[in-house]
Amino acid sequence: MGVPILLDLCDEEVADGVVDAMFDWLRWVDATFSTFKDDSEINRINRGELCLVDAHPDVQQVLQRCDELRAETRGYFDMHAASAFAADPSGFLKGWSIDRAAAFLQESGVRNFAINAGGDVRLSGRAVPQLHWRVGIQHPLERGEIAVVVEANELAIATSGAYERGAHVLDPHTGRPPSGVLSVTVVGPELGTADAYATAAFAMGGGAAAHWTARLCGYEALTILPDETVLATSGFPAA
């Protein structure tokens, strides 16, 4: 997936092998879904060598959810944006795999942790017994600065912005980078969905981004505009 995954564990004791098993599973996801690895299931499906029904159930689940998300986002989140013939679910995959990894940790009895996958964050429990997790939202114009702080216990937080790695999010309808918006942060129960929503809203650009996020169910959003106006939905958990 090409992003560093950081696990911040705050439990006093964690059973042996749990953390290793989680990272092993993430490596399996990378090998199975990577569009950079020739023999990955995704590449074999794209080449027509593997039928979707014969693919791993997780592969089927991810591709199906990507299709749903394209409909939910009016086509602004599109795994076929780069090529009509080749699926690239990586925009959803990172968040989805972190959701599954977090569920695995919780099933293994780990309670207090945060996973940071290249700036997309999944929280569980507390940072310290008395305190909630506090996640800073990167200031889109100034590198070392935090724009807003989110305070939460159980939450997924995804931010999409042009500042990350240049203009890597394109409007699938125009093929150009969106304008009129600096970053969109979406928070909610699932990181995969939050990430897809943030990407889609950012691709919409301008005022449309914030207005679209106001209609989301179960997810809250914060949009930063070029004049540094910050628009948050009413339930956004800003500290």
Partner: protein, 139 residues
């Protein structure tokens, strides 16, 4: 206002003989928190009817010596009157009124455990280090 300052000065003078020098100059911080509801004027949106917004604001006033600072925060936004005269405008009310709160940009000096949105791959190391340092601080 003038009276307040005079009494503060008097208190400081009296305090000196009873306490050591460092304690006497220490300013006392006083914080007052108030929450109020504000209702905007009712606006006729023309095609879609009337709209009125209510916000709840928390005002925190801190006084340290003669320095006074005021922070205001919007706690909630609601739309008590909104267009629902026709089926069409009712649909728009539920789905299209963007309940957006304007937030202040830049949270300075706040405790932060993680940063969302900073995907500088070259800074992965710095992020990892940050997590480690924060974990160490908690210990």
């Amino acid at each position: 206002m003038r009276k307040t300052i005079t009494s503060l000065l008097a208190a400081t003078v009296i305090a000196v003989p009873f306490a050591n020098a460092t304690a006497a100059v220490k300013a006392v911080k006083k914080t007052v928190v108030r929450t109020r509801r504000f209702t905007g004027s009712t606006i006729d949106t023309g095609r879609y009817g009337l709209l009125r917004v209510t916000i709840v604001v928390r005002k925190t006033t801190s006084i340290v010596g003669t320095r006074k600072s005021v922070k205001r925060r919007i706690m909630s936004v609601s739309v008590p009157v909104y267009p629902n005269e026709t089926d069409r405008s009712a649909f728009i009310s539920q789905n299209a009124i963007p309940v957006l709160v304007q937030e202040a940009l830049r949270a300075q000096g706040a405790r932060v455990d993680i940063v969302s949105g900073a995907t500088y791959t070259s800074e992965a190391f710095a992020q990892s280090l940050q997590a480690a340092i924060l974990a160490e601080k908690r210990w």
